[in-house]
């Protein structure tokens, strides 16, 4: 994106004074389409060139730029301290990860989905999955049902098996004394036990990737996925600690990483994002940090 140009310079101008943003032919007040080129007037404004010319596929019809979605960087913090951060990273044109972090009574629900890069509209897939599963889990539905609803929501986005948006999935439901996990693909959950004073926390991997050695995933949500069942796991931590749920944009940079032993969940999430970005930020990054036990007062 070009920071030199004000992306909003056209927004408040009366349309009668401006030309068509695509072909520059004069257009009249109240016209819905440009008479010269047929461009739909009143389209969203391009973040780079400023033309009101962003089409339904998300490309600017004047400069061609694929528009970043509103998910480039977002943070969520719950009253109890649990925090989530999602970020586009440094090498992708948009953020195709999606996350939900919700409180339902004394239960905390989180869902993280990573849009499969080789599928179309992967950002819509992850958003649909997170919305469906997050709401279902917050209503108290079991993991398998929430996963099934997310799967159907993603499948519905496909126009055919050759045009099937897809995403990975990990969900956690944290209740007092118990954490229930479900996942498919290569999004992960870790347990970070509270470190002894002066020590750094060590992460314990709780999930098992559905992926072959070269990294290609073998399970995902989407119309082109075979009947996928989630892995499920329940743990009852005896000591206080922190649950970390994340996409591969973070965990690919965790090899040999020592987690900081202090700070709030949001501080930890931001610190982990910095670790991912400083290590290259190759992919979208999503991090959810949920303190468990009494470690967060």
């Amino acid at each position: 994106m070009n920071p030199d140009q004000d992306p909003r310079h056209d927004e408040d101008r009366p349309s009668g004074a401006a030309g068509c943003p695509v072909c520059l032919a004069p257009v009249l007040d109240g016209d819905t389409y440009c008479e010269a080129c047929g461009h739909a007037l009143g389209s969203p404004v391009c973040t780079s060139c400023g033309a009101a010319a962003v089409d339904a596929e998300g490309y600017c019809e004047r400069c061609g730029l694929r528009q970043p979605t509103g998910r480039d960087h977002a943070e969520t913090v719950l009253d109890g301290g649990a925090a989530a951060v999602t970020d586009r990273g440094l090498r992708r044109s948009r953020n195709e990860d999606a996350m939900a972090l919700l409180a339902a009574g004394d239960t905390i629900v989180t869902v993280v989905c990573d849009g499969v890069g080789s599928s179309p509209r992967a950002d819509e897939a992850s958003a649909a999955a997170v919305e469906a599963a997050g709401a279902a889990l917050a209503r108290g539905l079991p993991h398998r049902e929430a996963f099934g609803l997310a799967g159907r929501a993603v499948s519905k986005l496909a126009t055919s098996v050759d045009d099937a948006p897809a995403c990975t999935y990990v969900a956690a439901v944290a209740e007092p004394g118990r954490v229930r996990l479900a996942w498919a693909g290569d999004t992960r959950a870790y347990w970070l036990p509270r470190p002894r004073p002066g020590e750094k926390a060590q992460g314990v991997l709780l999930t098992e990737d559905d992926a072959v050695e070269t990294g290609e995933i073998t399970a995902w949500l989407g119309a082109d996925a075979e009947d996928v069942e989630p892995h499920v796991r329940t743990l009852a931590p005896e000591e206080p600690g922190t649950l970390l749920v994340c996409s591969d944009g973070l965990w690919r940079y965790l090899d040999g990483y020592a987690f900081p032993g202090t700070g709030t969940p949001l501080e930890l999430a931001r610190e982990l994002l910095r670790q991912a970005l400083h290590s290259g930020g190759q992919d979208n990054v999503t991090i959810v940090v949920i303190p468990l036990g009494d470690s967060h007062e």
Binding site: G64, R66, L90, S93
Partner: protein, 427 residues
């Protein structure tokens, strides 16, 4: 109507550009089911003009084969096709229907009459292809809703001034499709290539006169199997980008870059001629402004449009995304690489043959030897065999040498065939 042809458009490219990358290449593969042309009631309206060179050089056995070929073409016309036969000398003369400048509907009676008229053709006079095409154009454009096609056969060189011929071609370009055939070894491939390029047709060398009827039958049949008279490739590029070229690369090379008609400042239409059930491929190159790592743009938006109805029958995106990952940006798409090589082979042959004609032995040897290597590598065995007859390469030392006595027909065949391309072999 359920038998309307359907079109598919697939795009092969590597969208990743290095940080300083500006050029985006893509191969568009367009396939058509052609629709059903099984019964006459659903067949598309067709108009066909058969042009026979009857200049003095055609006398003897050649005019006999030409009569036979024209008669075969007429027999191949299905009932209801509008047609005419023209004799070409220094002027163009209506052979059938005689004395009337219009097409007639084919039926058993008119076909018989046309055959009789063709049987009386005599060879005498000069060669003015521009005149022939003008008459064909006048006849065909009276049928604006038909699939308009001409078949031109010649054995000699055009006697018209180059600029006269050129102005006829540019005036009639795009109004009908013309396929050309050259017979014998006194015609000039470059002239028929100009006709084929202007009229979006093919041109071919009939090496053995006896094959002429078969060539006529095949071209007429192909023309009658067309179901869509005209399709345009409508290409949009960003305001700050430049569309460097649009070329048909399969089945033959045909540069469409100069045939653009502007739709709006960012969009242009490129004619592709008529379509039956077939597959063609196009190579598109866009120069884009510099971008930032991670940024993705639509570098080209391609639509296949019926110009009569403005209906979009297929569309696709050519993308560009900048990356600092060299493994991604240095990868060259196999199809792009293949057709880049086929275009290079064509240029090497053309450059080599014209250098040879001008006596520049060094350039001719270098180009033709390199062409031979490329032809062998890319599975063009026929072309490699023809090149072998023009240039010899010592297998031990690799030293190349032009052969002294080259059959004129081999040279013409090499020249004519260089626009054909091989398909990419499946891995």
């Amino acid at each position: 109507m359920s038998d309307q042809p359907t079109f598919t458009l697939t795009i092969d490219q590597n969208k990743y550009l290095p940080t300083d990358g500006r050029e985006v290449h893509a191969i568009l593969s367009i396939g058509s089911t052609g629709g059903a042309v099984t019964t006459q009631s659903v067949a598309a309206e067709a108009a066909e003009v058969i042009i026979i060179d009857t200049s003095g050089s055609m006398s003897g056995s050649k005019i006999r084969e030409a009569r036979q070929a024209a008669a075969t073409a007429v027999q191949t016309l299905r009932d209801g096709v509008h047609f005419a036969v023209i004799a070409g000398t220094e002027k163009a003369v209506m052979v059938y229907p005689s004395g009337r400048t219009q097409l007639v509907r084919a039926d058993p009676g008119t076909r018989k009459e046309a055959e009789r008229a063709i049987g009386r053709l005599l060879a005498h006079g000069g060669t003015a292809m521009g005149e022939w095409l003008k008459l064909a154009g006048n006849l065909l454009t009276a049928h604006p809703s038909a699939i308009r096609h001409a078949l031109l056969m010649t054995d000699g060189q055009n006697n018209e001034r180059a600029e006269v011929f050129g102005s006829v071609l540019s005036a009639w370009s795009g109004t009908f499709v013309c396929d050309c055939l050259g017979v014998g070894d006194d015609w000039v491939p470059a002239e028929l290539r100009r006709v084929a390029e202007a009229m979006l047709g093919t041109f071919d060398f009939v090496r053995n006169q006896g094959d002429l009827p078969e060539f006529f039958r095949r071209l007429t049949q192909t023309s009658m199997s067309k179901t869509v008279a005209e399709l345009s490739l409508r290409v949009w590029v960003p305001q700050t980008a430049t569309l460097k070229f649009v070329k048909q690369v399969s089945p033959t090379l045909l540069d469409l870059t100069g045939k653009r008609t502007d739709v709006n400042p960012l969009t242009g239409d490129y004619p592709t001629g008529s379509w039956g059930a077939e597959e063609r491929e196009y190579h598109l190159c866009v120069e884009v402004p510099p971008g930032h790592v991670g940024q993705e743009i639509r570098a080209g938006w391609v639509k296949l449009v019926r110009p009569d109805t403005q209906e979009v029958v297929a569309s696709g995106n050519v993308l560009a995304q900048w990356t600092d990952d060299l493994a991604q940006s240095t990868h060259i798409n196999r199809k792009v690489a293949h057709y880049t090589g086929q275009a290079e082979l064509h240029e090497l042959i053309q450059d080599g043959l014209s250098a040879r004609a001008m006596g520049d032995v060094d350039t001719a040897t270098a180009r033709l030897a390199k062409a031979r290597e490329l032809a062998t590598e890319s599975g063009r065995e026929d072309t490699a065999r023809l090149l072998e007859r023009v240039v010899e390469v010592d297998p031990a030392t690799g030293t190349a040498r032009l052969r002294r006595n080259v059959d004129k027909a081999d040279e013409i065949e090499l020249d004519t065939g260089s626009v054909r391309t091989s398909r990419l072999r499946k891995e």
